[in-house]
């Protein structure tokens, strides 16, 4: 078991290197010469060359990549051109809100969607099932911004229970933090609730037809045990897959989400950096996003092993 986990973790290393190489290459060929930008508008060709020399921009590609990757591995993502502070610090400052929204959204989605899907599968064809499937269709089809505005209108503007936008860090207290997360998380989770509920329902319907469910019933297991112990674990792999996908989508979607809800997270950092052509920040954020994809995938794979003893890598 441990060997299995170690092997799977090691398998992620070459992927990380490859991801690094791709990101590095994209910025390498990207338009705009950083040396020109750094040297300033009125710099002479000589000054630009000096800057290039000083930054090591004239070394061979592969050598630059190895040096860069080595620094990245040590947590050194370079200095922000605009702020002049280390990119890693900037990212660390902004990671909190992004992760908070993501985790809250996923937590909310799973807690709502999985029981919904189970309930629908149990009552397949019945009224509950139709209701769940109907809600899922609505969740899929109503655009997030429409739903977001409706919620904001009701809970923030009319009832004034929640802030319209903005983010309070955990250091300001649990309740303010939670309050600031509810609107964005609930809004974002509609799509994932729909997705996870449907996949749970479909997989569970399949599992409930299996012989071993009949065996469990013949043993005298009650409905709850059948659904949540015998069936749900068997349906786990597809459900975990979708949750993993959801997390990945949320990471990528942070750029949009955070500007809509005015959350000062990584997405906002990226947007600001793009506006100012602050390449080290962009590179750093993209790198962090990509690495977290790889990590999420790794976690999903490890959960597979945990859920289904037949899965071996």
């Amino acid at each position: 078991m441990l060997g299995l986990v170690v092997r799977r973790v090691l398998a992620a290393v070459p992927v990380l290197v490859l991801v690094g190489l791709i990101i590095f290459s994209i910025l390498y060929v990207a338009p705009g010469d950083p040396a020109v930008v750094i040297a300033g508008d009125r710099a002479s060709a000589e000054e630009i060359a000096q800057v290039r020399e000083a930054l090591g921009l004239n070394k061979p590609f592969l050598l630059r990549f190895v040096e860069w990757f080595w620094r990245v591995m040590q947590g050194d993502l370079g200095l922000s051109v605009f702020h002049g502070t280390p990119v890693s610090e900037l990212i660390l400052d902004r990671v909190g809100p992004t992760v908070s929204v993501m985790l809250m959204t996923m937590l909310f989605s799973v807690v709502i969607a999985v029981p919904m899907g189970v309930l629908a599968a149990w009552r397949a064809g019945g009224l509950t099932d139709k209701l769940v499937v109907g809600l899922a269709v609505i969740g899929f089809s109503v655009p997030v911004f429409v739903f977001g505005y409706i919620l904001a209108f009701i809970f923030a503007r009319e009832l004034q229970w929640l802030p319209v936008q903005g983010y309070k860090p955990l250091s300001e207290g649990l309740w303010p933090w939670l309050r600031s997360l509810i609107l964005p998380s609930v809004t974002l989770s509609t799509l994932y609730v729909a997705l996870i509920a449907r996949i749970t329902r479909a997989t569970l319907l399949d599992v409930l037809e299996q012989d071993y469910i009949r065996t469990a019933r013949a043993k005298g297991a009650g409905q709850f045990t059948i659904l949540f112990v015998h069936a749900l674990k068997n349906a786990g792999v597809p459900i975990i897959t979708v949750i993993g996908l959801g997390v990945a989508l949320l990471i990528g979607g942070a750029v949009v989400t955070e500007s809509v809800f005015a959350i000062p997270g990584l997405g906002r950092l990226t947007l600001d950096a793009i506006a100012m052509r602050d390449y080290p920040i962009i590179q750093g954020v993209v790198l962090v996003f990509s690495f977290s994809y790889v990590i999420v995938n790794l976690i999903v794979d490890l959960l597979y092993i945990l859920i289904d003893p037949r899965i071996r890598y």
């Binding site: 090691l10 299996q210 071993y212 013949a218 043993k219 297991a221 037949r310």
Partner: protein, 609 residues
């Protein structure tokens, strides 16, 4: 066998049990007025063909039919209370506690993601309210009772770590957990090999003696019925045909259907005097009138050159693990297998699941690529042929598979399925259409069925279609891989007869792969017995069945249930269990084997023990 029948109050008393299923068109009654008693220490067999309603009967007793789509009436009296009138909560306390159940498919009846220990302990936790630790201790004891070695270590294993026979033992242990009064066994041995079946039956009998349970034993196999049942209830199309002591059922069946059922059971040893394969007598199910098919299969001319010669065939499958696919072992599926088949001859390959008989058939067809050896068809070497040459030569060798439901494309009309090999062979379209009709008639169907889809046919009819497809390109050799194993007795008899008739008419050669010894005895000219990828004994049918020489052949024959309750069973302990496995470390070379001649056409592997 000694048993004391409790003649007093029955444990379970079923009266006028009827069940209907909801379908698109309304309610359809699937079982009608079933009544029987089951006493402590007694085994009652529920026997019938597929669709006779025997499983529905057992599920109705347990109230396990899908709720909302089922309607059940009548009475199921257990200890004075009618189970049909209990609330669902009360019923939960009966299931797995008072009445336990074992199912047919040990491969699918255990939950693949829960440990054996958890599943064994579950019934105890549910009904006895004991702690997890106590349940584990009890689970270990249960595994020991069903004779699973290293019980404690195996508790944390998952079902996929167990063989089929072992899983069925786990199922039995699970059913016995709470010491039920009644055990409902729904085809518990059908999916198992004969030797494993024999072990499981012995185990059930022993446990019954210890516990005094009443067993409701559901099966379609009259041989098993004769072996296990004190009384037998015969079902046909949802109706009770008759219910009587087993000896009486066999000695003196009162109903025509029972008579037909018993007489259509292939019996081992019925062919001792026959020089060539002989078709089965066909018994009409309604009238029990027997008729003998009007064709005969000719003996093979020994002077004729073989049409298929297989020599030194070896197929291994590598097992790779880890990141870089390191070779950790090989499955030695087929090792040094040699045989030949003459025109018009049937050679049967027999052995238990995993012995390599199917892989041998597939290697001969080149569906898998053998690593070594030669396969000559009509004198031409097939191993190493290129794609197009292989396609040409495959016209001479065709295959019929086990599962007639899975081996026809459900979205393709049967006519197109039959036509496909001819299209591949590049025949003229009009000719193909003509021939599809001819083929359908030849296998006992009608021409106009070509336009139908597979789901419109029964299992037996589908197997006829598969046979027609195999015959389409006029092959010289048919490889029949368990072609009749999935069929009911009466259908099985018909399909075997059809194969023999086609053989007689076209002088077909057949490689008949089967684990069913009684059928093999009927169809074969010659028989090869396989164990762990190797042939241990090969010879004429008479030689193998009348004077088996190899210990494994004897064990295999001894394990076949005899459809006669009067025959006392005397089974030697199995020397070749289901625990041996064909996986060997890389670089392993099997020992060089030599064979001794035990008769004019009879070779036996020499084993050093």
């Amino acid at each position: 066998m000694a048993f004391d029948l409790d003649t007093g109050q029955p444990l379970l008393s079923v009266r006028d049990l009827s069940t209907s299923f909801k379908s698109l068109t309304g309610w359809t009654e699937v079982i009608r007025d079933i009544s029987f008693d089951l006493h402590a220490g007694e085994t009652l067999a529920l026997v019938g063909e597929s669709g006779s309603g025997k499983s529905v009967t057992s599920l109705s007793i347990m109230r396990l039919n899908p709720a909302g789509r089922t309607r059940t009436s009548g009475q199921v009296l257990f200890e004075g209370q009618d189970l049909l009138h209990l609330s669902e909560e009360q019923m939960l306390r009966v299931r797995g506690n008072d009445i336990a159940m074992i199912f047919q498919e040990p491969m699918t009846s255990l939950n693949p993601v829960l440990s054996i220990g958890f599943q064994l302990g579950e019934a105890l936790r549910l009904h006895r309210g004991i702690t997890q630790a106590e349940a584990m201790k009890e689970a270990e004891r249960l595994l020991e009772r069903v004779r699973i070695p290293a019980a404690r270590a195996r508790l944390s294993d998952f079902p996929h770590n167990f063989s089929g026979g072992m899983r069925q033992r786990v199922m039995i242990a699970m059913a016995l957990a709470c010491g039920p009064r009644v055990l409902v066994a729904d085809e518990p041995t059908t999916a198992l090999d004969v030797t494993v079946q024999a072990q499981i039956i012995d185990l059930l009998k022993e446990l019954q003696r210890e516990e005094g349970m009443g067993i409701l034993f559901i099966t379609h196999d009259m041989g098993v019925v004769a072996e296990v049942a004190d009384r037998t209830l015969v079902m046909y199309k949802g109706n009770m045909v008759e219910c009587a002591p087993t000896r009486e059922i066999f000695a003196n069946p009162r109903q025509n259907y029972t008579r037909a059922l018993i007489s259509s059971v292939p019996r081992l040893g019925s062919m001792a005097e026959s020089p060539a394969p002989r078709p089965f007598d066909v018994t009409d199910r309604e009238t029990a009138v027997q008729s003998t098919p009007d064709f005969t299969v000719a003996p093979v001319r020994p002077d004729e050159a073989p049409v298929l010669e297989v020599e030194g065939l070896r197929t291994r499958f590598p097992i790779r693990r880890g990141l870089f696919g390191r070779l950790v072992g090989n499955v030695h599926a087929v090792e040094n297998v040699s045989f030949d088949i003459r025109p018009g001859e049937t050679l049967s390959l027999v052995g238990e699941s995993g012995c390599g008989k199917s892989t041998t058939g597939r290697s001969v067809m080149r569906l898998v690529t053998p690593q070594a050896g030669s396969v000559r068809l009509g004198g031409q070497e097939m191993v190493g042929l290129g794609r197009s040459a292989l396609r040409r030569i495959r016209q001479d060798i065709q295959m019929v598979f086990q599962d007639p439901f899975a081996s026809l494309d459900p979205r393709s009309r049967v006519g197109s399925s039959i036509a496909e090999p001819m299209i591949v062979a590049g025949l003229d379209r009009e000719l193909i259409r003509q021939r599809v009709g001819d083929l359908l008639e030849e296998v006992g169907l009608s021409r106009d069925m070509a336009r139908r889809f597979p789901h419109e046919f029964s299992g037996g009819q589908r197997q006829r279609i598969c046979i027609a497809r195999a015959l389409a390109v006029r092959p010289k050799v048919i490889v029949a891989d368990e072609a009749v194993s999935a069929l009911d007795v009466t259908i099985k008899v018909q399909i075997v007869n059809l194969l023999m008739e086609l053989q007689a008419r076209h002088r077909l050669s057949m490689l008949f792969i089967s684990h069913d010894m009684a059928v093999v005895e009927r169809v074969s000219h010659r028989v090869a017995v396989m164990y762990l990828g190797e042939i241990v004994e090969i010879g004429s049918r008479a030689a193998i069945f009348s004077s088996p020489q190899h210990a494994y052949t004897r064990q295999l024959l001894a394990a076949v249930p005899v459809a006669d309750p009067g025959v006392a069973r005397d089974r030697a302990p199995a020397a070749f269990g289901d625990l041996r496995n064909p996986v060997k470390p890389p670089g392993y070379e099997p020992p060089r084997r030599s064979y001794r001649k035990a008769g004019p056409d009879h070779l036996v592997r020499i084993d050093e023990f």
